[in-house]
């Protein structure tokens, strides 16, 4: 079997595995939408505050955050299903098979990236029904969903690294609030212009702030190549770090098994 075919087969397994376990997918699909619905209704008046960027609604302001949040949620399932695989012995069988070892990793990560991409468009469809207008049009939306894919791949790789390291799906799910926390400590839910004090310092030091702001721009202002490239670069850097760490973790795990 060629390497490309192996990647394809393992990605397919990963995507199908995700879709076939609805319990794992439901939080990823519902929680971000629930937060979007709640915040849009609760915080819509806040767009009148002086300094708030010009937006149609809080829904429009927050939509990009919701897409990235969905990518985060979905990505953690990659790590926890990797841990479940290790607990369940699938991993040993895969090691024993003559599959290229990096395909184990890439298959998993590609699976969540594809899932995040699809999920972004599903969110788009739902939010459109509730009045969302993406200023950057379909191109802007495509940019946003690409960034979501790379973010999912990055967090997926990181949680795979963690899953491989700990071998416990519970530990990976326990680590999920970390991703959630990092997002909260950024300008994901409110504009930086309205922050002050120590929190502003934290949000400014958090690369997630810039990533979100650049994809949000595609939604609230219009399509921008330079901002899209910046967002992709931040997500790409995170992905590279995730790949290195999970590669190291995989090597460690293989040493243990052999």
């Amino acid at each position: 079997m060629s390497t490309a075919a192996q990647y394809l087969a393992l990605s397919r397994r990963s995507v199908l595995g995700t879709i076939r376990t609805p319990i794992a997918v439901i939080p990823s699909l519902t929680f971000p939408l629930l937060f979007l619905a709640l915040n849009s209704a609760a915080l819509n008046r806040s767009i009148q505050l002086p300094g708030f960027p010009e937006v149609d609604s809080f829904l429009q302001f927050m939509f990009a955050t919701t897409v990235i949040q969905g990518a985060l949620f979905g990505a953690v399932t990659a790590g926890s299903s990797m841990a479940t695989d290790i607990e369940g012995g699938f991993f040993e069988r895969m090691i024993a098979a003559p599959a290229s070892r990096s395909s184990i990793l890439v298959g998993r990560v590609a699976g969540v990236a594809v899932f995040a991409f699809g999920q972004a468009w599903l969110f788009f469809a739902v939010a459109t029904v509730f009045g969302l207008d993406v200023e950057g049009g379909l191109v802007g939306m495509l940019g946003l969903s690409l960034v979501a894919s790379v973010v999912a791949a990055a967090i997926g790789a990181l949680s795979v690294a963690f899953g491989l390291k700990t071998g416990s799906s519970e530990a990976v799910q326990g680590a999920f609030p970390m991703a959630f926390a990092i997002m909260f400590l950024s300008s994901a839910f409110f504009p930086r212009a309205l922050m002050s004090g120590w929190f502003l310092d934290v949000a400014e030091a958090n690369p997630f702030s810039y990533l979100i702001e650049d994809v949000r721009y595609q939604v609230i202002a219009g399509f921008s190549w330079s901002r899209l490239v910046t967002a992709l670069a931040i997500a790409g850097a995170l992905f590279a770090a995730g790949l290195v760490l999970s590669g190291l973790a995989l090597r460690g795990r293989l040493k243990e098994t052999s």
Partner: protein
């Protein structure tokens, strides 16, 4: 047979188990602290909105996250009960002649004790973060009643679920109930500043009134009108959910 001794025996065990199953209880303490940061940090300038009832965002957020912390600490009793039912330990308890209601009240007392720990922590967070206890001890008393009362209701909800499903896998449903009921209230905004559907939901959600009871001492003076509504809402929730727990017990034991 002393029902009080049984109640206390069950409650004492539950409290003793807190440090022995840290993975259940610690998150219920970490989360409200984190949410305090997450809901005050980014949204500090909400207080500048015309008609916003607080001068400082922490006065608005701390009572809310304190209530949430109490409720989440409260449902850990239900998780413990689910564990006992799942691994068979509860069979041992049920085969004893201890009065069934004493067993339930043991779990309720444990719920309130556990919530007390979360409440103490959140009061500390309030002091450290600089929330204003404008009505002093009276305000703290109002928060305590609201927090422990809500924990009682949440605990009864979780205990009722545990008795029906007898598995720890039901924990996410316990949490979702608390999440939805607390967020679909005036968690972030007063009803007057909401738009769309949320104001309708929040105005009929009893948690909104419990939250008002908890918040009043942080925003100004404690008033009887607000207190009364809060107590009524608490009473209603507790009666309904305790009945839910009792029915669950009847389903477990012939």
């Amino acid at each position: 047979m002393s029902a009080a001794a049984v109640t206390w025996g069950i409650a004492e065990r539950s409290v003793k188990l807190i440090p022995r199953v840290p993975s259940t209880f610690i998150p219920s303490l970490v989360m409200p602290v984190f949410l305090t940061i997450a809901f005050s940090g980014p949204f500090a300038s909400l207080v500048d909105l015309p008609g916003f009832p607080a001068d400082h965002i922490l006065d608005w957020v701390v009572p809310f996250t304190a209530l949430q912390g109490c409720a989440f600490a409260g449902i850990t009793t239900g998780m413990g009960l689910a564990r006992d039912l799942e691994n068979g330990f509860y069979d041992r308890i049920l085969m004893s002649p201890a009065p069934r209601s004493a067993l339930l009240w043991g779990a309720f007392v444990a719920t309130i004790l556990r919530a007390g720990i979360a409440l103490a922590l959140m009061l500390l967070v309030g002091v450290v973060s600089g929330a204003h206890f404008r009505d002093g001890i009276v305000g703290i008393a109002a928060l305590t009643i609201a927090g422990l009362g809500l924990a009682f209701a949440a605990g009864a909800w979780a205990i009722g679920l545990a008795l029906r499903f007898k598995t720890q896998q039901i924990a996410p449903l316990m949490q979702t109930g608390v999440f939805l009921s607390t967020f679909l209230s005036t968690a972030q905004m007063p009803v007057e500043l909401m738009t769309g559907w949320l104001d309708d939901v929040a105005s009929v959600n009893p948690v909104t009134y419990v939250l008002a009871l908890a918040r009043q001492g942080f925003l100004g003076d404690v008033t009887w009108a607000v207190t009364q509504d809060g107590l009524l809402a608490l009473g209603g929730m507790i009666v309904v959910l305790v009945a839910f727990a009792y029915r669950g017990m009847q389903k477990v034991i012939p």
